[in-house]
């Protein structure tokens, strides 16, 4: 009950300075948190990634109580509880259930070739993955981007959205691209789109310098290139709760047991 809670909290305040320090150390150790937090500037309302991760946290905690649930959809792409306007929220699956660490990354750099330049139009996103957890392997990674409705679109037109890993950049020439995932969506669809970028994530984990980002193309059925912004794909200048981000699932190597403290 709330009164009990208040009473218990006050007993924490009664602890001596040393006991409080010991308690904090104990909590940091049990939660596996990396040391004492540096004072965080008060954060603005959470953006898309924290909202998604908070949803995932609640789904994982609920699973802890009840038992497993998310699966992969037909294309084999993971879908966790989507933060907003999700059309389907399947239960948790092995990738999420078995993940030891899940990290979300906000994109750092965003380039694009849009209507003012020659076709094909594209948009590039690059994430800073440097703080990857040591000794863990990537089991899955997704790039999530929000698609909103735009005026002037024929709702029933089909858009082919493809995501490539940028492998090698050549001066004054097109870089080498490797296709990661592609989705065909109706122009009139609104909500989060998730692209499987696991192979790129693995590649970047092994060779951090090779992280040159990903590139997104949009084409119509007649192979006509459209600008991502024009079809309603939101970039980092969009509302915070709908900005693109990347989420990566990690699995720790199977240490036999937790070392005693």
């Amino acid at each position: 009950c709330v009164c009990g809670q208040k009473e218990v909290q006050s007993s924490f305040r009664k602890l001596s300075g040393r006991e409080k320090k010991e308690m904090q150390r104990e909590i940091l150790s049990i939660l596996g948190l990396p040391g004492r937090p540096r004072p965080h500037p008060p954060l603005r309302p959470p953006s898309s990634a924290p909202l998604f991760m908070l949803d995932l946290y609640h789904a994982v905690s609920a699973e802890g109580d009840e038992g497993p649930g998310l699966g992969l959809n037909q294309e084999g792409v993971i879908h966790a509880a989507l933060p907003t306007l999700s059309t389907h929220t399947p239960p948790l699956g092995t990738v999420v259930s078995e993940a030891d660490t899940v990290m979300s990354f906000v994109n750092l750099v965003e380039h694009e070739r849009d209507l003012l330049q020659p076709r094909p139009y594209w948009k590039e996103f690059r994430f800073d993955l440097t703080p990857l957890p040591q000794g863990e392997t990537v089991t899955a990674a997704e790039f999530r981007i929000y698609k909103t409705l735009t005026m002037g679109q024929r709702a029933n037109r089909t858009l082919h959205i493809s995501v490539y890993e940028i492998q090698r950049e050549k001066r004054h020439r097109e870089p080498e691209l490797v296709l990661l995932d592609m989705q065909s969506v109706p122009a009139g669809q609104e909500g989060w789109l998730a692209f499987d970028v696991t192979s790129a994530s693995n590649h970047w984990l092994l060779h951090p310098r090779s992280n040159l980002g990903i590139r997104l193309y949009v084409e119509t059925e007649e192979d006509r290139s459209l600008s991502a912004g024009w079809v309603g794909l939101i970039g980092r200048r969009g509302p915070r709760s709908k900005q693109p981000f990347m989420v990566t699932f990690f699995r720790a190597s199977q240490a036999p047991c937790r070392p005693p403290r």
Binding site: Q5, V8, Q9, S11, F12, R13, M23, Q24, E26, I27, I30, L31, G32, L33, P34, P37, R38, P39, H40, P41, P42, L43, P46, A49, P50, M53, L54, L56, Y57, H58, V60, S61, G64, A99, D100, T101, V102, M103, S104, F105, V106, D128, T130, P131, C257, R258, P260, R261
Partner: protein, 137 residues
């Protein structure tokens, strides 16, 4: 050779007393007026610790601690968790003489934490095998 015709099944003296029924030792403790060692819960909210903008979830942590007279004090050379484990084994061998450690880990439960790293990335960390804090009394 095993004798098949033993008329009565001999009671195994290592049978644990039923956990919910107070053991012989508990009554003894209560009578002697000493406060037996008991597990308590201390809830620590992360806003108390000034971590609110750092840890997104959970809102706090329930730390367990033990308080009371310990019949088997050990020196500082062993930490509480290992002490409780050993006391549990010794209790199995001498249930009438050695009390069960009041907080020996019985159920390993997972715990998850969601926090910001220094680059404002959000990390969800899951710990599968959590040991309940034990006091080793």
């Amino acid at each position: 050779a095993v004798r098949h015709n033993s008329p009565r099944k001999k009671k195994n003296k290592y049978d644990l007393p039923h956990p919910n029924r107070p053991g012989i030792f508990d009554q003894h403790h209560a009578n002697s007026g000493r406060q037996a060692c008991k597990k308590h819960e201390l809830y620590v909210s992360f806003s108390d610790l000034g971590w609110k903008d750092w840890v997104l979830a959970p809102p706090g942590y329930s730390a367990y601690y033990c308080d009371g007279e310990c019949d088997y004090p050990l020196g500082s050379c062993m930490n509480a968790t290992n002490h409780a484990m050993i006391q549990l084994v010794v209790h199995l061998i001498k249930p009438d003489e050695v009390p069960k450690a009041c907080c020996a880990p019985t159920k390993l439960s997972p715990i998850s934490v969601l926090f910001y790293d220094d680059n404002n990335n959000v990390i969800l960390k899951k710990h599968r095998n959590m040991v309940v804090k034990t006091c080793g009394c």
